[in-house]
Point group: C2
Chain length 368, copies 2
Amino acid sequence: MKYNELFVFLSGLEEKIKKMLKQEEIISLLKPYEINESVTSYLHRSAKRLRPAVFLMACGCLDKEVPIDTMLPVAFGIELFHTWTLVHDDIIDNDSLRRGGLTVHKNMEQWSLKKLGLNDKEAKEYGMDIAILAGDMQQAWAINFFVDFASKNTEYTKVILKLISLLETEVISELIYGEVLDVKYSYVYKDIEKFLSIDESEIVNMLWLKTGVLYRFSALAGASLALKTDNFKEPSIVALSEFASKCGIAFQLQDDILGIVGTEDILGKPVGSDIREGKKTTILLEALKNANTEEKDIICKIVGNKHATDGEIQLVTKLLDELGGIEYTKKLAQKYILEALPYLKNIENSEYKTLLIQWADFMYDREF
Amino acid sequence: MKYNELFVFLSGLEEKIKKMLKQEEIISLLKPYEINESVTSYLHRSAKRLRPAVFLMACGCLDKEVPIDTMLPVAFGIELFHTWTLVHDDIIDNDSLRRGGLTVHKNMEQWSLKKLGLNDKEAKEYGMDIAILAGDMQQAWAINFFVDFASKNTEYTKVILKLISLLETEVISELIYGEVLDVKYSYVYKDIEKFLSIDESEIVNMLWLKTGVLYRFSALAGASLALKTDNFKEPSIVALSEFASKCGIAFQLQDDILGIVGTEDILGKPVGSDIREGKKTTILLEALKNANTEEKDIICKIVGNKHATDGEIQLVTKLLDELGGIEYTKKLAQKYILEALPYLKNIENSEYKTLLIQWADFMYDREF
């Protein structure tokens, strides 16, 4: 099987993360029930754990001696950091499903309807309140994994402090910038003619901010801990970071593709909501460029219409495909992977390098 | 003047914080405009800066040598940590004003109406989205102050790591617990008969979680950095922490009083909204206990009614006062200050101890 080693590695990591979760004493501090459930729910669900995986693979590439398990707390911290962004994103995007279950705010909306007897409006607000606070708690908990690791492993203290500093300033501000642009584009470019004047690089930059930045950080963290250096300009650290950064863009381009032509059961989240929310993707841009007036009118009427029927969604999906939007974006994703791979040329061969190469291919090839 | 030294100290600190704010390089990373404006707006407005003040005063009590300015970055970090809780609280409480200006979500709602041409519903959502992300950024930025300080001052690294760990696990989970209880009580105890069966200690515990916990942490951080120890059980650290913790409850009880009988212009936030939101305070509990059936009916009809008129608010305010709710809560606040002061008995006399004593009195005496 093409991704055999990668999938074995990922499922091993998934198991380790779930085991750690069971032993986490902090969870007993989380009160009341609503917060405890909301902080932990996404972590309990099956997931790919790609960011901690990239962290561990980058670390393994540069330090063959370090046992993976030593670095697990930092890997968990990275997964948790990613998780709070999901919880808050889901509020912002009004999404209902994540990883095969209800999103945090939706779950608490339903819970408070049943258990607290709130009315619809109150329950909606309560669900959102809990989700905001649960994400806040996750951000803090994530940082505690880094800090705790730095306290217990003094040979890594200096590097970890520099990593937290990077994460809590540049990385998070770029992530948030990307998230705001994503929301803003769906409003500002409602007018399709205006959207057609956007440069593709603006969309790609937004995707990079939203996703590439955290993948880059994951690789940078693994590589710098392996070398025990806080000189993040060291060539092999830069190489692994840039590699992960480019692959991150491909990951997000493929995410946009799956958001339109993916399979709900496999993805664990709804397909079609990107169209209803009017998400501004390279798929949409390319299709519009190739559309005739009639096709353009159909797309304009349905994209961004929150009440579009399933039939209308199917119609637009078909058009986006036939007008070459999907294929174009697929090729764009491939282009970023081709740009990423040469960064690995000076990295010594190892099982971890093999895993990273498989991961890169998987980024534009994945169905989930 | 009664609080002369304290006010001089607070205004000096305010000036220093505003000066630091101007030099903060991180601010240039904050994009787009909406995030930059939202992350910094509360910090630019006049404020009491009580939490960083308690931190510095506790530090000064145990280490007469340390120049206050050395510890300023940590003080700023504490203020910033407090600030993200305000931004997210304001969303949750649907508040419109804070520190004499619009709350972050309200400000961005108005901005997006004007500048992005959104409709009312979209603008409300956009304002909230930005406020969620701005608070997220502030939490991260706050931690970066601690981490940066730990990197640059290696003699404090160990203590700072333990402090971040405490803040990011116990302290934040208690804060969030308190916030959820506050929201939840307003729903669960809508039925006044049910509310009358609540034990006063439940309300006080909620106030302690919401406010006392962060005051306790501020004193603990100052004291432990002064002694350069991560043994937080050291008697003078415990004494200063418990002192601040009790005063924190008094602060919040007085906050509830000012939320009903305060002066809007002095407070910089609306008076009456606590009544409209149906906030469950010791004031309300005591007044209801002393009310006859007719008075109880009036209170029940108006408290928790979001559309109550100004006249109705005035009527309830008068009743809460005449039925002894205000006086009772004032005495309760005083009781906590009286319980707090003996904790200072083994702390050597100094200008900082004098400041802490003035601060304690100010907690239940303040009009703003």
